[in-house]
Symmetry: C2
Subunit: 110 residues, 2 copies
């Protein structure tokens, strides 16, 4: 961690924050970190999200190269979502966030 001025758009930290800053971005990535999932599966596994938001953020994640969308020519339709390597590489970030959250957000009694 060098002492460099963080002017937002040249800073890798804030740029990363922008990529994963959507309200449901992290839950989606988390849900896909170990397994491919279909749209409805995703929707069910993420409590509180609604269709529109899921579609929107998935598209954004796809545009950012974090998620792969695979369409099957079947009836009923089937679409599977999975993480790219770029997406999977976020795992370290998630791990650190979880670590910090558990330590400082839930163990306040200790």
């Amino acid at each position: 961690m060098s002492e460099k001025k963080c002017n937002y758009f040249e800073c890798p930290i804030t740029r990363t924050a922008d990529v994963i800053g959507g309200k449901w971005t992290l839950p989606i990535i988390f849900a896909l970190i170990y397994e491919t999932k279909r749209f409805k599966e995703l929707e069910r596994s993420i409590e509180g999200i609604n269709t529109r938001m899921l579609v929107k953020e998935l598209k954004q994640l796809e545009d950012n190269g974090l998620v792969i969308r695979k369409v099957f020519a079947e009836v009923p339709p089937r679409v599977e979502y999975s993480l790219t390597d770029k997406g999977k590489a976020l795992k370290n970030v998630l791990v650190e966030m979880r670590e910090w959250g558990n330590k400082y957000l839930f163990d306040t009694i200790l």
Copy 2:
């Protein structure tokens, strides 16, 4: 990283995201990670921020226990901001975010 349902408010990851999700939160933490700074110093070291936002996010950070505000009874007034241990502990998260950002957001040519 266990396979647990992430229902937002019980999930340490998304809770952490909420704490550091303000637009200028990370730049502020970054600016304070190695040194205490006065208000104006902070404002100058973070490109693009304005007074109102800096005040607002600093207050939020203080409420969340990430930042300490120390007021000196002097004229002209002097207020110094520094990170608590809780705040400093976010360094690991920042490091991972920077790592990821550098690798996947800036080295796309490679």
